[in-house]
């Protein structure tokens, strides 16, 4: 697979480390009433879809940026690559 890095252009997926579902960006509030349940779901449960999947890739052997890659899990086709920090900010995170 080739990941089209927003800053560096097309890079071999072997340069990256895969973390998992991009929902991991949305860490639950540890002070919430239901924090234990929310962290259980955050840490252990996954949607695991067959089709479009947003996921976190880390460019370990490159510029060490985190990317959100939208990829089809049935075909491996990558339709979108974003900087994870841009995605996080667009969801209201400060960094």
């Amino acid at each position: 697979m080739i990941i089209n890095h927003p800053l560096l252009g097309p890079r071999d997926a072997a340069e990256f480390v895969y973390l998992g579902d991009a929902s991991l960006i949305d860490r639950p509030d540890w002070q919430a009433e239901d924090a234990a349940e929310a962290f259980y779901e955050y840490g252990y449960l996954r949607d695991n879809p067959a089709g479009q999947h947003q996921e976190l890739w880390y460019h370990e052997q490159g510029d060490r940026s985190w990317l959100v890659v939208t990829r089809d899990t049935l075909t491996h086709e990558i339709s979108k690559v974003e900087m994870a920090r841009d995605v996080a900010r667009s969801r209201g995170r400060s960094k």
Partner: protein
């Protein structure tokens, strides 16, 4: 029809005209006591043990494709019980004992070959860890044997003992481990279940679950609705997709594992050998091909094919321990989809939906577990409580903090 040497002889003399199909192709009935979703190794063995050990006959096994079309026919056929943790090891040892008696039990030649498995050791720390593992195996009644490098040199002279980076310092044998003809396992269980009245319904895709007031009453399929008192899902690899139809999210990601086979060679490998520094395991099939594999690709996928970086990594692992493999030509490679769970261990459990049961999360260890998985799942379905060797394989173990994490990697499925 009971198979025997006499049968083969007499059929040979009469033109082999007396052989009959080994299972029926029934249409689904409107209702069953138990509907098993997935006619793979685990689903068929579940049906077989339900019928044979627990006396239940009104069972259907529904399958989207043809029986045995999933991972039971895509794996590297290794059986072993060399696990460490008490949540796993008694279960896998039970499985190995079932393998040992399987062919007599279901009267089918599954070519069970206890040709041994050897896990190589490359450092002092690894030796300590493997000796600990061997002791854990003894505690569960399994066999284990530590061999020094000198002993190994005499027995397996072709390994690369003096690799500069990963010298071979010894290894942990399980002599009772080995290989099995994987398709024959599915066929043997299917035949045994069919003989006892189980309906195996192929080309029948489950498209939904009938859940009424928190109770599962049956399944919707491409061949109509089937009512059932209990629905037992057994579709490892596709667990995420199937259980999503019941509104469940699982502690599982789907990943692809690749496997490889070379052209047929003269006998060179006496048993199964695994590399302890990378991830590489190899055995030789009875046809002569070297069958080997390594790590999963490491990203979510439902495509039954992998990518080239892993091919390179596996080939490097092979060259590191067994340089002669470089002279063999690769014949085929393929991929299978694994339920990679959050701790690398499986699930055999009820769900929060009454009447809906789940078996999955086998990571890349499902084949060796086939007999015990079916046996324990059948026990759960028939008795309503887990089999004593599968009490820890629960879906809620992460919530309770009781992980079965053999490698201590944490909730990162692609590291297990």
């Amino acid at each position: 029809m009971r198979y025997s040497a006499f049968k083969i002889f007499s059929q040979g003399l009469t033109g082999n005209k007396g052989w009959k199909p080994v299972w029926r192709e029934p249409d689904p009935k409107p209702e069953y006591d138990i509907v098993i979703v997935g006619a793979g190794g685990h689903g068929l063995s579940t049906a077989y043990y339900l019928a044979k050990e627990y006396g239940m006959r009104n069972i259907a096994v529904v399958e989207k494709g043809w029986l045995g079309s999933g991972n039971i026919g895509r794996n590297t056929t290794i059986i072993r019980s060399n696990y460490l943790l008490p949540g796993n090891e008694p279960f896998y040892e039970m499985s190995l004992k079932l393998w040992e008696g399987l062919e007599q039990d279901f009267n089918y030649n599954a070519m069970v070959s206890q040709r041994s498995i050897l896990n190589l050791v490359h450092s002092d720390a690894q030796r300590d860890a493997f000796i600990r593992r061997g002791n854990a195996m003894f505690l569960a009644g399994a066999d284990a044997e530590y061999a020094t490098a000198e002993q190994l040199r005499a027995e397996l002279p072709f390994l690369n003992y003096d690799n500069a980076r990963f010298p071979i310092k010894g290894g942990l044998f399980q002599r009772r481990g080995g290989t099995v003809r994987h398709d024959a396992v599915a066929w043997g269980y299917a035949r045994g279940a069919d003989e006892r009245g189980v309906d195996i319904i192929q080309n029948c895709e489950v498209t939904g679950f009938d859940i009424e007031n928190g109770k599962c009453r049956g399944v919707q399929t491409s061949r109509g609705a089937i009512r059932a008192k209990k629905v037992a899902v057994c579709v490892a690899g596709s667990s995420g997709r199937v259980m999503a139809m019941a509104g469940m999210r699982l502690p599982i990601e789907s990943h692809v594992l690749q496997a490889f086979v070379t052209e047929g060679l003269k006998p060179v490998l006496p048993g199964v050998i695994t590399f302890g520094a990378g991830h590489f395991y190899v055995s030789q099939s009875d046809k002569g091909g070297l069958v080997f594999g390594g790590d999963i690709d490491g990203y979510n996928t439902y495509a039954q094919r992998g990518n080239l970086p892993v091919v390179e990594d596996v080939a490097e692992g092979g060259m590191a321990i067994m340089p002669m493999i470089g002279r063999a030509r690769l014949l085929r490679s393929w991929g299978g989809i694994m339920d990679m769970s959050m701790d690398g261990s499986p699930f055999i459990d009820k769900t929060h939906i009454e009447g809906l049961f789940f078996n999955g999360g086998w990571c890349y260890g499902g084949f060796k577990a086939t007999p015990a998985s079916g046996f324990c799942y059948a026990h759960l379905l028939a008795k309503g409580e887990p089999h004593p060797v599968a009490t820890q394989m629960r879906l809620d173990r992460f919530k309770r903090g009781n992980l079965i994490d053999e490698k201590g990697q944490g909730n990162q499925p692609n590291l297990h």
